[in-house]
Symmetry: C2
Subunit: 446 residues, 2 copies
């Protein structure tokens, strides 16, 4: 069943937090994404909701007795230091919390409530945002047929797309320990590299360091081991989405990946954005799944559902931009590398989740399933440098005159994502950012 | 530096727990592996050490003030409900605990101590053993050159071993959530399968269900993100070893694995044995690393260390056996499928760990690194049915007259491992066991 919009989706709703009412903010009152912050002074993590340029501290809301229309287990979950407990609440409880927060922040909230909330509404720029979730397992998919085709055609010009691609959502297990929050520096990894023309590999810093622009979903309630998730129930198992940068060392990858797939070329770091945008907030932007071509196979029955076909897509624009040290020196704006849309993904989120659990694999609250690189049909929508520069062969000329192949030390990549449409409030994802640090052997002694 | 044996390795040492003194036990006083149990009555997990047919409850030892020669943080770690905290202690603290436990259980222990210990020594068969560790990340390697060659030659008869194999320890990220303790039933997974001769895949229960006999290491202290582990320090980062059965659905694997490696063919379940045998207990069984052939490349410098060459191997025998429902009906003993040795692994544990961290990937206490299938040169040492039956083509005849290709419902696979040698006390690993349950669609309604 496709849920109906409710008061929290009303595009004309305004907040008493003024900065939430400018049309350009990522975080109007219709969004209400969840994150975790720590005050610079120290202390433990608090769960918060982004609102304009501020955050609402849910721990403080609980302390001041402001969470009046939610269950005791919801209140307890709001006092934790990660979102996992909140993610494990049932769908009805999560909805009740969204409505409660909406009313607290609404321009019509009583003066008494607003007074009490003064202490709970904090300036976002005074806070350190933290990894919002304790991620048990991280899985990375490969859900863009354009990305798979581009990468495949570099390796196999005559049969770019492997025969399984349009039947099975390809994915692999990623590394959970090295997932970091936006803003964390990314140390250039060493690895085994077989240079072109060489006959023996060397061990050296990667020279083909890349980003991958992805969207990740966080699992809500999950499923027990041995209990698959029918596709009709898959959306209930999704809490919300974030941006993911799956940093990749292409030279390490090409030497190590056969026969068991990418390993150390990916596990040195993966960056996630701090705010988790709920599926509820994305409701106005749901669209039909990516249309299959007449020659494409129909999904196997376990991956096929009418509602998913009509509603499984998300009209979410994503963008990657870069600054180099020279650009920052010259105070130039970030240079946009690509802009694409999640609507062009071959597999829907429900298909990814249902496929993942189809062998009985248990998904737990807070598990992260990333989409794989979001690349669309258009060349300017390609979500990584491997594709944008075609293996580094077609360099990108930056406003400074610098030529960009792969990432150099000091380069900073920022991912952004947002949904917008006429008559709808904008729902944004904030930033997912990381700057390349020199490898240990190349760093200047400090 | 190669550590020297101490009193805890004295092969003549006896325990006042009589069952520990029979030469055939896996758990003499020289072993002292760690695990976690829960009393059948319920309650939380307790850390324990196996001794003969009993276990020593370390929580009780702490309560009765018997842990007198260890640090307060060690005592606290002994009261936890998983081994993670114990694993994060430094090497000296772990050694002190081993000596303390050795003395408590030694035949020469004072009568007063033995009286106090009566409540802490429990019959193993009255207890449920639990997953001993909260495994943050699970990595599976491919460290047997014989296994890699056999599997490769089924796919590529003319170049069985890929060019990277002897240079780089091949591995992939596994699924942590579906790791289960020995004795847990293994539900036959469904998956996408492209049948031989078919042109479209189907979704069905796996018909080529296999086990993989592996040895796993648990990480001790770990390393920070961005901080590689020099190979000379790798052994300090290893807490101990267990048996691992990396169940595999070969028909799902062969359709899904390109280009990103195994995924759902592995993630439905991985079984670990309950007891973690420490590196200290294995000290008398350390041997030189597997000898390289003259034509093999020397390991790259980051994977090469003189002590590892002289001492990086372990003389550990591993074995897989099976019972079928018919065998159990006829009260037949388990049938031995294979017996091999960990000494034949191409890469050492230190090489696996150092390689894993070589890109800066952070390993955390309790992370599991499995070796990959332990197969040796001899056909009878092959550690999975794929190899033993050569893709199911050469069936194994069981004592009942049944023919075994891949695993059928009700088949139970047991892995065992042990070290022994003249003048040394046997150090065993106990069992790692799992029985195949019918798939959901094929199970009789209950």
């Amino acid at each position: 069943m496709i849920p109906a919009p409710d008061e929290t989706h009303d595009p004309s709703a305004l907040s008493w937090v003024e900065s939430a009412n400018h049309g350009t903010t990522d975080f109007p009152i219709q969004n209400l994404p969840f994150g975790v912050f720590r005050q610079r002074a120290g202390g433990r993590g608090h769960i918060a909701v982004a609102i304009g340029d501020s955050v609402l501290d849910l721990d403080q809301c609980a302390t001041h007795g402001l969470l009046t229309t939610v269950s005791p287990s919801t209140i307890q979950a709001c006092r934790a230091d990660s979102l996992n407990e909140l993610m494990s609440l049932d769908h009805r409880q999560r909805l009740a919390l969204r409505k409660q927060i909406f009313r607290l922040l609404h321009a019509d909230a009583e003066a008494r409530v607003r007074d009490l909330l003064q202490k709970a509404v904090l300036d976002r720029f005074d806070l350190d945002l933290e990894l919002p979730v304790k991620i048990g397992d991280y899985t990375d998919f490969y859900a863009s047929v354009f990305h798979a085709t581009n990468v495949g055609s570099m390796l196999r010009p005559n049969h770019a797309l492997l025969p399984n691609y349009k039947w099975i959502p390809i994915g692999y297990h990623g590394r959970a320990s090295s997932i970091v929050i936006s803003g964390t520096g990314i140390r250039r990894p060493h690895g085994q590299i077989m240079a072109q023309g060489a006959t023996t590999p060397g061990f050296a810093p990667s020279r083909r360091l890349d980003y991958e622009l992805e969207v990740g979903l966080y699992v809500a309630v999950g499923n027990g081991l041995g209990s698959p998730v029918p596709i009709a129930q898959a959306e209930e198992k999704i809490f919300g989405l974030s941006l993911v940068n799956d940093w990749s060392a292409r030279d390490i990858q090409s030497w190590e990946y056969q026969p068991l797939g990418p390993f150390l070329s990916k596990s040195f770091a993966t960056t996630v954005s701090p705010w988790v945008v709920t599926l509820e907030a994305l409701l106005p932007f749901r669209i039909p799944a990516f249309p299959r071509l007449p020659e494409d196979p129909a999904p196997l029955p376990y991956l096929d559902h009418e509602i998913d076909r009509r509603w499984g897509g998300i009209d979410l624009t994503v963008e990657a931009s870069i600054t180099t040290p020279k650009m920052r020196e010259q105070k130039l704006s970030p240079y946009r590398l690509s802009q694409g849309s999640f609507r062009e993904m071959y597999w829907t989120l429900a298909q990814l989740l249902t496929h993942h659990a189809s062998n009985g694999c248990n998904l737990r609250p807070g598990d992260l399933l990333a989409s794989g690189t979001v690349s669309g049909r258009a060349p300017e929508s390609r979500g990584c440098l491997l594709e944008l520069t075609w293996k580094g062969e077609q360099k990108i000329r930056l406003p400074t005159g610098e030529e960009l192949g792969f990432l150099r030390d000091g380069d900073e990549v920022t991912l952004r994502g947002w949904c917008e449409g006429s008559g709808k409030a904008r729902v944004g994802f904030g930033e997912c950012k990381g700057r390349i640090l020199p490898s240990f052997t190349e760093a200047a002694p400090s």
